[in-house]
């Protein structure tokens, strides 16, 4: 039995003024799948993710979230982020920012427990009271992931979120994502240049090259294809 699709891209294309990024992208993403999105710098991976988030309007085709999963909650860890180094915003506070809604200004006991749990899962308990602006690159990445996860998303989009992590931390976080995928059926889109990692942790791949987009089970991602995708 195949899982229910949650996201469908039909003939999707984005063109910036004088710069066609990609076109005619057809893709169905099903619940619980883990995709790697690969391709060389500037090919349009981040652009595609922003289109999925409705931050960019596609110039052709459409993005549809399917009602088979009512209420698609997206957790997105963007590639770049601007946070002033001086802000008195602790990592704990930063993670809690994502708990929104028409609620009281302060977090409830239940919400604080949620934040605490995710801090533990991402290994940030020791750093919880450090200002986010002063955290190291890798610590920030962990905090971003924690913030994206705190609202229990069912679709997680990571844009090169492991690029600045050391090997041990990288494995820890990917194990966490894998565990959430298995336990909660979390769907994951993983933009990355790390092919061995993609082969180890993801099930499907989408390889973007200028003018051509290929997809398939990760086992079919051969070295020749990678070489071609990353170099042509």
């Amino acid at each position: 039995m195949t899982a229910a699709p949650i996201l469908k891209l039909e003939h999707l294309g984005v063109t910036f003024p004088n710069n066609p990024v990609f076109s005619d992208l057809n893709l169905t993403i099903r619940q619980g799948e883990v995709w790697s999105i690969i391709g060389k710098n500037g090919v349009g991976k981040t652009t595609l993710m922003r289109t999925l988030l409705h931050q960019l309007r596609p110039t052709q085709g459409k993005v549809t979230y399917l009602p088979s999963v009512n209420d698609v909650r997206i957790g997105y860890v963007p590639q770049f982020r601007n946070i002033d180094a001086d802000y008195p915003l602790t990592i704990r506070d930063f993670v809690g920012l994502n708990l929104t809604g028409w609620k009281l200004p302060w977090l409830s006991a239940k919400e604080r427990a949620k934040v605490q749990r995710i801090l533990e899962q991402t290994g940030l308990t020791q750093l919880a009271n450090r200002p986010i602006g002063q955290a190291s690159g890798g610590e920030k990445q962990k905090a971003y992931l924690a913030q994206a996860l705190v609202e229990a998303p069912n679709l997680l989009i990571l844009d090169e979120s492991t690029a600045s992590l050391d090997p041990v931390t990288k494995t820890e976080l990917l194990d966490l994502v894998t565990e959430l995928n298995q336990r909660l059926n979390l769907t994951v889109l993983f933009v990355t240049h790390d092919i061995p990692m993609a082969q180890k942790y993801t099930h499907q791949y989408l390889m973007m090259t200028p003018g051509k987009i290929e997809q398939g089970p990760i086992a079919q991602l051969t070295d020749d294809k990678v070489w071609e995708g990353e170099n042509v």
């Binding site: 997105y76 001086d86 915003l89 929104t100 913030q147």
Partner: protein
């Protein structure tokens, strides 16, 4: 000092102003909006001058001008690179208009100085009441929108990812700043109002560990500045804005120095 009604009114008004400015200042600083706040206060000057010209209370003229222009600026500044140049142009235009309205209104120079630099003696009990109502509106909106404002102000990328209506939030926030500017200008004057809206929060940023702490500290610093400014002004007869500006600036430079020492270690 408190045996005079005008001093009681001034203290009541000053307290309201300090609380509003401390709270709003935290978001103004987090959103890097000091410059825009300055512009809004210049627009406020123009509005007050228009009020005088039209025979209204200056506060009503200010409210009209700042609120309308904050909505316009909010539309312009969806792209922030364009914001600075556009706001400079707007502020120049409004200062010019303010000068024109004042000269058309045929009021003497002391009227202009009190709009620009604020005054202690001009505040009546009904002014205080109006300020209180306006401040309550600001406080209630901030309370209701607090989580959204905090998210968008301290982590704009995250708030956009979340799908918060960040443009609407930003316009709403500008309108709140416009209200605060109009309220606060009653004592410190439109030329110096941005001091209370930026310096206490900018100082607090260096000492606080949480956003809530920053807010409490900013309110405290604003209160100290306003209360001691009023007292000193009463004792010396020098303008209250001078004392407030000096006190807040000293706090800020002390904080900068302290921050230097911390990072140098």
């Amino acid at each position: 000092m408190f045996s005079y009604e005008f001093m009681r009114n001034a203290f009541a008004a000053g307290t309201i102003i300090a609380v509003i400015c401390g709270i709003m200042g935290v978001f103004v600083i987090a959103r890097n909006m000091s410059f825009l706040t300055h512009t809004l206060s210049e627009i406020g000057f123009s509005g007050a001058a228009f009020g005088v010209f039209a025979g209204w209370a200056p506060l009503n003229g200010m409210l009209l001008f700042t609120v309308v222009s904050s909505v316009i600026v909010g539309q312009l500044s969806a792209r922030s690179e364009r914001r600075e140049a556009a706001t400079s142009a707007i502020s120049a235009l409004f200062i010019g208009m303010g000068i024109l309205f004042l000269s058309l209104a045929n009021k003497n120079a002391s009227y202009a100085t009190s709009i620009l630099f604020g005054s202690v003696i001009g505040i009546s009990a009904s002014d205080v009441r109006q300020m209180l109502w306006l401040s309550l509106v600001v406080l209630i909106v901030v309370f209701v929108l607090y989580r959204f404002l905090k998210f968008d102000s301290f982590d704009h990328t995250g708030a956009r990812v979340k799908g918060l209506w960040t443009n609407a939030l930003s316009i709403t926030f500008l309108v709140l700043v416009a209200l605060s500017v109009s309220v606060a200008a009653q004592i410190v004057g439109s030329l110096l109002i941005f001091i209370l809206l930026t310096l206490p929060a900018a100082t607090a940023k260096y000492f606080a560990h949480t956003v809530g702490g920053m807010m409490v500290l900013a309110i405290a610093l604003a209160l100290i500045g306003v209360w001691s400014g009023l007292t000193l002004s009463y004792m010396t007869n020098y303008p209250v804005s001078f004392f407030i500006a000096a006190i807040e600036a000293i706090f800020y430079f002390v904080a900068l120095g302290w921050q230097r020492l911390q990072t140098a270690e």
